[in-house]
Amino acid sequence: MTEPMLELKNVKTIVNPGTANETTILKGINLTINDGDFITIVGTNGAGKSTLFNVIGGNLKADAGQIFHTGAEITKTTEEQRTTFLARVFQDPKLGTAPRMTVAENMLLASKRGEKRHLMPRRLKQRMAEFTKLAAQMNNGLENRMTTPTGALSGGQRQALSFLMATLKRPDILLLDEHTAALDPHTARNLLHATNQRITEDHLTALMITHHMEDALKYGNRLIVLKDGQIKADYNAAEKAQLTVDDLYAYFEM
């Protein structure tokens, strides 16, 4: 692919425009994401990390600038339209799954991400074996709970399911918004490991926000520091290998 997977050109977002409380969150973001990039993103609270994801995801419109997906402009497209090539995992395990629907039903919904849904029988039984096999990859017993409503799962299982659902139908871009932050350290490590494995094996293009500097350094082939709505640093794989946790903390102390 010659065109970059995703390109942001001078993207700005403004809150309460035209009032005394007018605040610019993203102050002109320029970012080129290439096919296969696995970018970790760090930054303080209020740096604009989540806003950046929302602008890419389409549930927040950019007030200035342009966004391109494989060369085609998508600045004005809706969140639903962007789901044809984009998948997200939220920080809150409750947001990623439908609590009264079963694990298998959730997976079936996710397998048709971005597609038109017709008045045709859903044919869940035919895909049960395939879904169970995928669930087993998460190594947390999810495969034994295929017919359990997801509201009855543990937070770790739910979040593993959310991740599975996001990658079930291969996305061009995967957004991970601190998806392990609500989990205990052990469960978080397992999910992060599974995340890394899936992204590297399938050569997915992914952006991952994290507050753990160690994780930001350990995973991915590129690292971005976001501060005050601007990209302060953008390290490639070679530069990232030389970085230390203290280097990153230095950005937060200024």
Partner: protein, 299 residues
Amino acid sequence: MNLIVSAIGQGLLWALLGLGLYLTFRILNLADMTVEGTFPLGAAVAVTAITHGFSPLAATLLAFGAGMLAGLVTGLLYTKGKIPFLLAGILTMTATYSVNLRIMGKSNISLLGQKTLFSGSFMTSLPQYFDSVVLGMIVIVIITLLLIFFLDTDYGQSFIATGDNPVMAKSLGIHTDATINVGLMISNGLVGLCGALVAQNNGYADVNMGIGTIVIALASIIIGEVAFGELTLSQRLVAVTLGSIIYRLILLAVLQLGFSANDLNLISSIVLALCMMLPQLDKLFHIRKPFFKGVQTND
């Protein structure tokens, strides 16, 4: 015996109301006040159409369509107009009252001497009150099967997901505004249909016949849930109909105690309130521990 048959017949006819509200109240998680307007709307459209020479079947289908339209209005006010849902329903309900008067031209129209779905030679050959049981049964079976099919399709699943977790639904590309609108249309279509059948069964339409319908619909749903407990989605739909019949039998029993038909809305509300408080009452009277614990931890 006749009274019990009548109650079952009424329960079956009114079950449509419960099924309609089930789609919004339980699946979309929205409390839709529109039904208080849609029910008499269905009645007004059907009765007016019949008195203008339409066949009873065509008139009934027209009522279904009118109900869908009212549902769409509420849906658009909510999804596009961004009006809070409860208020959107109340607006449509209030507006519908005037629309119903316009349609009928007066506040009450009788079907005396007119053809209805209950006046065919087969229906009139049945013993007293069995006509509503037969027709109610036919309609409920057809509608329940259609709903079970609908909810099991890809579209139906996206409709369920919209109610269960709209954030997730959107992130999977489901157009939640559209599924909400479609759900409200089907729901209110069924309520309009119910109004049409009840009006033909009663032999008249009245602009005030919608008062209290949301409570009756909720009572069918809640009684069905309280009586039958954990069920699959398809079974829940059947439970709504059974709940509607049980509700009519409760009313029958209460009327036998000497209350008059004028007390019905009071009784309906008390029945519904008791059913909804059942979990709390159970805690108070059977498991005393949590009650005292609650007092202790107040320090």
